[in-house]
């Protein structure tokens, strides 16, 4: 009984701190800007940012509805995230368990991995133009590389006895992959998803540098080139909130999917 109340108290405390810490930042922001010591073009007040946000909600930005900007960005991230995860996990698991597959991909992918995506933008423009394909491919590449590394490391964490047990119960190669290697790697894959989502949103802004007139990245870049700092802030906070929300959603699912993690 005592342990239950202690656990409840710890949970409440956690929640309180998680809510109070952003409020404190918000308060500090309000105080600093209210004293007028900072030029609004450097750091606008929360009120001014909120006004710009409302303006975008009502009138859109640069002739396009705000939710259209959000939707286009989410679609780019979504397509890249799903395809990048699928391919990255598949190749990562194979690299982790089959030495020859690892040998095949080792140099090409480890060579590409340290290249900053921004450095690839000029090449991608030359190869794939400035349309959707370039933007999605840029995000896809980052997601793919992150998921591949995580899935590979995860598949290596599979216990030898678990593999042997499966073989002794007549599991064929693909069954071992499906029922033993993949579940063993899942905890690390789920962590990879959270990292990849954060990175995907980062790359989104860079990808939307590639031209076009839609997307949250476009809003931020366009506003900043016209010194409309309040709109830059509104766009940044919106991306941040999408990141926070998606991270919580992935973490929630991950606790349910890898329910066995840390229980033994």
């Amino acid at each position: 009984m005592t342990s239950t109340t202690a656990a409840t108290r710890a949970k409440r405390q956690y929640l309180a701190i998680a809510i109070l810490s952003p409020l404190a930042i918000f308060l500090a922001w309000t105080l600093v800007t209210a004293q007028g010591g900072v030029a609004p073009i450097i750091l606008p007040s929360p009120g001014a940012v909120a006004a710009s946000f409302l303006d975008m909600v009502q009138n859109g930005y640069s002739g396009v509805d705000l939710w259209m900007h959000v939707g286009v960005s989410l679609q780019r991230v979504g397509v890249a995230f799903v395809t990048g995860t699928t391919l990255g996990v598949t190749i990562g698991l194979l690299r982790g368990r089959i030495p020859n597959v690892d040998a095949l991909f080792l140099v090409p992918f480890e060579l590409v991995r340290p290249i900053p995506p921004l450095g690839l933008i000029p090449l991608f423009i030359l190869w794939f133009g400035i349309g959707e394909l370039s933007k999605i491919l840029l995000i896809f590449l980052s997601v793919f590389l992150i998921m591949m590394v995580n899935a590979q490391a995860g598949s290596r964490s599979c216990a030898v006895d678990a593999l042997r047990a499966a073989q002794s119960m007549g599991a064929k190669r693909w069954q071992i992959f499906r029922f033993v290697v993949l579940p063993s790697a899942l905890p690390q894959i789920m962590t990879g998803l959270r990292i990849a989502m954060g990175t995907a949103l980062t790359i989104l802004v860079a990808a939307e540098l590639l031209g076009g007139d839609r997307g949250l990245g476009f809003v931020i870049l366009d506003a900043s080139s016209f010194f409309r700092t309040t709109y830059v802030f509104a766009g940044i906070i919106l991306i941040g909130l999408i990141g926070l929300l998606s991270d919580r959603v992935i973490a929630w699912f991950s606790r349910r999917i890898v329910h066995w993690e840390g229980k033994r």
Binding site: Q167, H259, W260
Partner: protein, 276 residues
């Protein structure tokens, strides 16, 4: 009470110290498992040479010896995790080639699949063989009942105690109906009470299923209580090991057997043999 009486009668028999027999198996036809001059080298270093033995259907052989004597190597060769570098290992007269469902392994640390329920763990071999869901569930429930896990079919392994996890490990092997069950020090990490209950359980299951069992252990008590024969290994580099026959009253799973004079005599004989 009746078992206690039986025990006191036997205690009146003249005291005999069992001598180790020759390492040849009793000559019965069609052994389930047969090693013919099996040798194993690791990195060019010989671990064992010319090891021969045979196991009869329904027999429990306890392989006893200190760490590093090669007992797990024997088990791994039967399981197909290791290939002999010399000689042949035969199951039902056919050479062993890699792991297979005719040889089930109960591991020291259970090695259950934490992501599957107890029922899915138990019926895993049927899933691999493409059996339908209803049949898998039925077999899982039967096997859970056999090892005393009824009511835990939908639990996950991490919700079970160490002893219950080993029961799952036992059930999933039995579900595959193997020709030989291989047990690799499966109870060594459990507390004494749980270990003894599970030893009795193994004997009770043998009565019910007739499953041939190779049991690797470093505990003399465990070997004497469980085994029909005991292979005492010290150094397998010349292929020699001592074989002891266990002669304890049926039902073998009776815990009173642990106090039987024959049990105590054999334990002492093995102990003296180990210490020379």
């Amino acid at each position: 009470m009746s078992s206690y009486k039986a025990l006191s009668v036997v205690a009146d028999q003249p005291f005999e110290t069992p001598e180790p027999n020759s390492s040849k198996a009793p000559s019965v036809m069609n052994p389930v498992l047969k090693f013919e001059k099996v040798g194993f080298q690791y990195d060019g270093r010989p671990i064992m040479r010319d090891v021969s033995f045979a196991m009869q259907p329904g027999e429990i052989v306890a392989v006893l010896g200190p760490s590093g004597c090669g007992k797990t190597t024997i088990l791994n060769m039967v399981a197909g995790f290791l290939d002999p570098t010399d000689g042949v290992a035969l199951i039902d007269g056919r050479e062993i080639r890699g792991p297979g469902p005719d040889r089930g392994v109960v591991f020291q640390a259970a090695a259950l699949f934490d992501w599957m329920t107890v029922a899915d763990n138990i019926s895993f071999s049927l899933r691999c063989a493409g059996r339908p869901r209803a049949e898998r569930r039925q077999v899982a429930e039967e096997m859970a009942a056999l090892v005393g896990l009824t009511g835990f079919e939908d639990a996950y392994p991490y919700q079970l105690s160490g002893g219950m996890r080993q029961r799952v490990g036992l059930a999933r092997v039995l579900a595959a109906k193997p020709k030989v069950m291989l047990m690799d020090e499966p109870f060594s990490a459990l507390d004494v009470q749980t270990r003894e209950v599970l030893q009795e359980e193994v004997l009770r299951i043998r009565e019910r299923t007739g499953c041939t069992t190779l049991f690797v252990t470093h505990s003399i008590d465990e070997a004497v209580f469980l085994g029909d024969r005991i292979f005492l290994l010290t150094d397998l580099k010349d292929g020699a090991f001592d074989t002891f026959s266990v002669d304890l009253p049926a039902p073998r799973g009776n815990p009173e057997n642990r106090l039987h004079p024959a049990f105590i005599r054999l334990r002492e004989a093995i102990y003296r043999r180990m210490r020379h």
